[in-house]
Amino acid sequence: MWHGLNGIDPIIMPRLYSTIACNLDENLLAAALPLFEKEQVEAIEWPFDSLYQFEHIPGWFEELLQTFATKKRLIGHGIYFSLFSGKWLPQQEAWLSHLEKLSRSFSFDHVSEHFGFMTGENFHQGAPIGIPYTNTTLAIGQDRLKRLQQACQCPVGLENLAFSYSVEEVQRHGDFLEKLIEPVNGFIILDLHNLYCQAHNFDIAVDQLVQLYPLHKVREMHISGGSWENSAVNPGKKIRRDTHDAAVPDEVFQLLEKIIPLCPNVKFVVLEQLSHALGSNDERKQFQEDFEKMNRIIKKATVTYHNTSSKGENIFIPDHRILTEAPIEDTLLFEQQASLSSILETANNYEEASTLLQRSALANTAWDVEHWQPHMLETAMAIAQKWKNGFA
């Protein structure tokens, strides 16, 4: 049942910033320029690890980042750390060193990563895929978050995933996220379009889904658009995918309006869209309209719920120094992940993938492959095969 605002004590929220996901990219910057000129962009989320193809970053882009960083309006968003890899990889060590260096140059207000492990052997070629919620994966995730926090020395958090294999996994996701961030007093990015995907794909009311997340831990929200895909194994079923390539649906805006007041620590609301969907003037105009709509909702929420009583603001920094020992690893988990990645990336159809899974090291384990929804296995294959060649 949706509780809405009834019965909720008035709260003071940190100031909410209208934010765009921005990077060194012609289309993204072209779409953002009119918003920059109108001084509407209040913060930038920078996917700091996605410029690996660049030899250097031009000075003017660094200056743009620094302009926001000096006002504590720059937030970092990682893609490639692969939080739940069963093995501690040299690339993860290098990734942390890079983040540590960047954090000295740019004062991030916080840094976040994605839930899951990256498919693909190449560090930059793959997609994040879910993991079973076990004590082993919990320990690995907590260990990696501690390292992340040590590297950036600011609040760290995780984003809810848009993808799940089963309804049970959907229902446990929020609880598992809360356990993961507990040792670092971390935060959650609540991606509302990801919730929208999960709600649709598993026929759950989004209002019910929202209640399964620790909303007091939300420091950032994402909104974006996506696409519909037909399922071959479940004819008539349309799968919602978070492809970041279209306008934000009205349902997501409505959700944003309803959920902001329930998240007392939310500080950044980010509009995300991929570059390839911002090539035309019409697409850029739509992006700007979406941003302005988001901004209106945020400003309205700010007026309504600010200037009330002030209690218990979470600064999302651990209250003690976090010591990390040798990285926690699990060889079996790593082998299972490699096997799953291979199956998802190479199977020709759902039937083949399903058969291979039943014969793999994942069968009859906590992965619970026996209960994966066919249309979601099909979707996992589509995602893994889409990204296995990276961005090239």
Binding site: A21, C22, N23, L24, D25, E26, N27, L29, L33, F36, E39, A43, P47, S50, L51, Q53, F54, E55, H56, I57, P58, W60, E63, L64, T67, F68, K71, H77, I79, H114, F115, G116, G126, A127, P128, I129, G130, E159, L161, A162, F163, D191, H193, N194, G226, R240, R241, D242, T243, H244, E272, Q273, L274, S275, H276, T379, I383, K386, W387, F391
Partner: protein, 54 residues
């Protein structure tokens, strides 16, 4: 948030020149070169497969 005008102008020029993907300064030379050759520069990976449903 206010962004310095000179910085905004630099971004405008860089976007117009199509020099971003190669991370070069938006000089007249590049602009001239751009007029002669069709732009084939790749897009930066601005975001990702990130959310797991991309």
């Amino acid at each position: 948030m206010k962004i310095p005008k000179t910085l905004l102008q630099t971004i405008v020029i860089a976007v117009a020149a199509g020099s971003i993907a190669s991370c070069k300064k938006p000089t007249d030379e590049i602009k001239a070169a751009k007029e002669k050759t069709e732009k084939t520069t790749p897009k930066a990976p601005d975001c990702c497969p990130a959310c797991g449903m991309g």
